[in-house]
């Protein structure tokens, strides 16, 4: 497993941009498991919390500590985050917890790209791309938002330092990175949020 992990590459090989009004960094490989099932069922909850080590999030919430966490994606879908190297083991563990119940767990770690966007203007940069109310009292740490960024689907959350974690499809990583670069171009401060 570890040998495989070292072979794997992120979509953009850790691209970063810090010449603008916010810093953009492609995150290292992040383990991600899509879990679909009845979110009220104890098995499903335990499968998620058992590998993520965080509490079940509420509707449109995310609980995340470093590389581990759970994001509420829809009424019957969670995204379980874990270190990339642990995905196979965690998948097995989740399958065991789920047992014969009707649920679906699939590894989507390689199907996604993840970016971190930070700096004092990070919220304004995001507001250029997503049709979401990103004011500090409206979009608060602990929330996850699935929406679009310009022309593609994305999901993101923010921490207390206005640092965003953004997830998009791997094939669109270059597009999203380019979008963020343009939105963070020097001289493009908005000062709205």
């Amino acid at each position: 497993m570890s040998e495989q992990a070292t072979l794997s590459q992120t979509a953009l090989g850790g691209a970063r941009y810090d010449a603008g009004i916010a810093t953009i960094v492609e995150a290292p490989l992040q383990g991600m498991i899509t879990l679909r099932g009845d979110l009220a069922s104890a098995k499903v909850k335990n499968a998620a919390t058992g590998v993520a080590g965080v509490d079940m999030p509420g509707q449109r919430q995310v609980n995340c500590v470093e590389q581990s966490g759970i994001a509420w994606m829809s009424p019957d879908e969670l995204l379980v985050l874990c270190p990339y190297a642990d995905v196979a083991a965690n998948m097995a563990k989740m399958q065991k917890t789920l047992g014969k119940g009707h649920a679906l767990a699939v590894n989507v770690s390689d199907a996604r790209a993840m970016f971190h966007l930070g700096g004092t203007h990070a919220r304004d940069v995001m507001a250029k791309l997503a049709p979401v109310d990103l004011r500090r009292d409206q979009f608060t740490p602990g929330m996850i938002r699935r929406t679009r960024m310009a022309q593609v689907a994305a999901a993101f959350w923010v921490d207390g330092d206005d640092r965003f974690s953004i997830i998009c499809f791997r094939s669109q990583a270059q597009y999203v990175f380019d979008l963020l670069k343009i939105a963070a171009q020097p001289g493009s401060e908005v000062g709205h949020i």
Binding site: Q59, R60, M73, S74, P75, E77, P131, V132, R145, R146, T147, R148, A153
Partner: protein, 109 residues
């Protein structure tokens, strides 16, 4: 550009997050149905000036389908509700009756 509230994830968002899916509450007719039944199911759609029921998908969001009751002339949204139902829920119908007394849509009123 409309704003809609997705009843499945609770987000209120602008239309660009959603994808319209045509008329709501269609009853499917499959093999064995008459020509008239099938024609009605496949082709015959309401085109009202006023109260209308539609299907929408929160495509750039939670991905779920839901229903919306809307006025096609004023664009007022009477309410949105889950897609897992054969007819508009009573509370939605009550809201519409309050705002558009005497409304009719297919067999509903």
């Amino acid at each position: 550009m409309l704003i809609l509230t997705c009843p499945m994830c609770g987000v209120t968002a602008e239309e660009t997050e959603f994808h319209g899916g045509g008329e709501a509450h269609l009853k499917r007719f499959g093999p064995g149905s008459s020509e008239d039944e099938f024609e009605g199911y496949l082709f015959m759609r309401e085109n009202p000036k006023g109260v209308h029921f539609e299907r929408w998908r929160h495509a750039n969001g939670c991905g779920k389908w839901f229903h919306a009751a809307r006025c096609t002339t004023t664009l007022e949204v009477f309410g949105t509700y889950a897609a897992q139902t054969y007819e508009p829920p009573a509370e939605i119908k009550a809201v519409i009756s309050d705002k558009r007394p005497g409304w009719r849509w297919r067999e509903h009123s």
